[in-house]
Symmetry: C2
Subunit: 328 residues, 2 copies
Amino acid sequence: MKKFVNRIDDAAAEGLAGFAAAYPDHVVLGENARFVRRRHTVPGKVALISGGGSGHEPLHAGFVGTGMLDAACPGHIFTSPTPGQVEAAMGAVEVGAGCLLIVKNYAGDRLNFAMAAEAADRAVQTVVVGDEVLVGSSADGERRGLAGTLVVEKILGASAERGLDLKMLRELGERVVERTRTIGVTLSSCSPHFVRGPTVELGPEEIEFGVGIHGELGRRRASLRPARALVDDMVAAIIADTGSLAGEEILLFVNGLGATPLMELHLMFGLAEEALSAAGARIVRRLVGTYVTSLDTAGCSLTVTRLDAEMTAAWDEPVDTPALRWGC
Amino acid sequence: MKKFVNRIDDAAAEGLAGFAAAYPDHVVLGENARFVRRRHTVPGKVALISGGGSGHEPLHAGFVGTGMLDAACPGHIFTSPTPGQVEAAMGAVEVGAGCLLIVKNYAGDRLNFAMAAEAADRAVQTVVVGDEVLVGSSADGERRGLAGTLVVEKILGASAERGLDLKMLRELGERVVERTRTIGVTLSSCSPHFVRGPTVELGPEEIEFGVGIHGELGRRRASLRPARALVDDMVAAIIADTGSLAGEEILLFVNGLGATPLMELHLMFGLAEEALSAAGARIVRRLVGTYVTSLDTAGCSLTVTRLDAEMTAAWDEPVDTPALRWGC
């Protein structure tokens, strides 16, 4: 695969350096480029730290800034950051009110963030994000952390800014996770820099249904159908998981996995809004864009969050980060 | 090619409808879905209208809103809007101070916007955007409108909001075009919905240098090289066109053409900032992201705008559109 890189092994680090160069008002590259941190910390505020493998940009570094994260620790491509990276980030941004770690539900991430938390000489709590809708043969499996991670980071970021303490933030985070579900489909796999071709070969009429964000197989293979039928399947999978959405106020978030044009994401958004409205949901907040990616995967996911008043208010608070901005 | 669509022929229209559904606070879909307009017009302000073929999203519809465009007219994929679309948009958003049309330099767009202007019973002026760096065999050709169109729309949008009249806006627009240059490279062509495969076949080590935004051939074919060497070639092409940038205050804008991951765009940004600094330029404003696209093309462009005080101030003004936001 052709890529804009120098050496494959340096791509994640050079990408991070370029990111920091592009947003000098928002972020600072941490010591030895092991993390990026918010340029200005806020006295008395709980520090929010996330991270995970590179290749999901703008997640997480793009969400460092006012109203969202204090620091992000990117590992190599599709590889967890080390405990040392997380410890260094905590040391840089914790200001006495403790650290909340936001961790996507993958074994490597959970292990390394837990090791950092145990080694820390400060108050640390962790929210594990598992927002995946389970379908097909893996219906009894673990929920992975997908695009819903953005929703968790936005709502907790705003709430930390408003002064919630560590315990309240953890409880709110668990509630947001519980009320957030994501289902993804891919038309093509991605090509991680460390292999030469796609990780999964799909035929000209095949798609993967129920995908993660690492180019792996989905929960089942399916046939490509018109967008309206695909959206109906995705919405049905979400409702089979959450139960009826009739009367619920929801956030609808359509996320691109990397290589899908905005025209198609907008088209999917319009269809999803129709399908969810027909199911009785009230779409009161909306987001569409390429935010939680899997390198250059052609695909998209639908995320539904059942909002309550506290979550809606936190979603609406100003945010000023490289990748997500409003109200600032 | 697999796409998230219902019928190919409906993709642009359904994408536009989904876009309007996703941003109800910002935009309204015009009559018969022939344009999108800003939800709230501003009394006494010159109306800014742009448009062009679909397939370049978020350009132009994503830039409708406070501080940028009043309306955008999307044609079919890679096809100019009709004069009737532009006339309808003018009728919807012009409030007595006249209309400024911002048109990318393509024959079809120029012709159809000119026909709309001639038919209009109101004051209309036009800025034609041709920001392409000409290289290779076509050095005596016409400059096409590329990613620099965003810069023109941002600076004119802010200036219209501040009360500049029609003539001043046209003159400022011509100055911004004159001081803006873009060079693009692609690793793969795109696959327009109306054909089944890529429009140009590139070998595993080949790239196109000096590309437009329609999947066509570049000004020359070249070999894939490390990102640093590519950036050096791109910066050299810009400087060969503009003359020395030593001491100039510039905006550096790295734009993704659709399928290129942010990691690579950030990496290219960092290298471009280094190369331009080494050439003596002072990078005082920065933008990186996927803004002016060519469907699912893997590629990127560098845009350099030589700023003056008026342009810098206008760039910094608040903007609140679906795709570009700050200061609001």
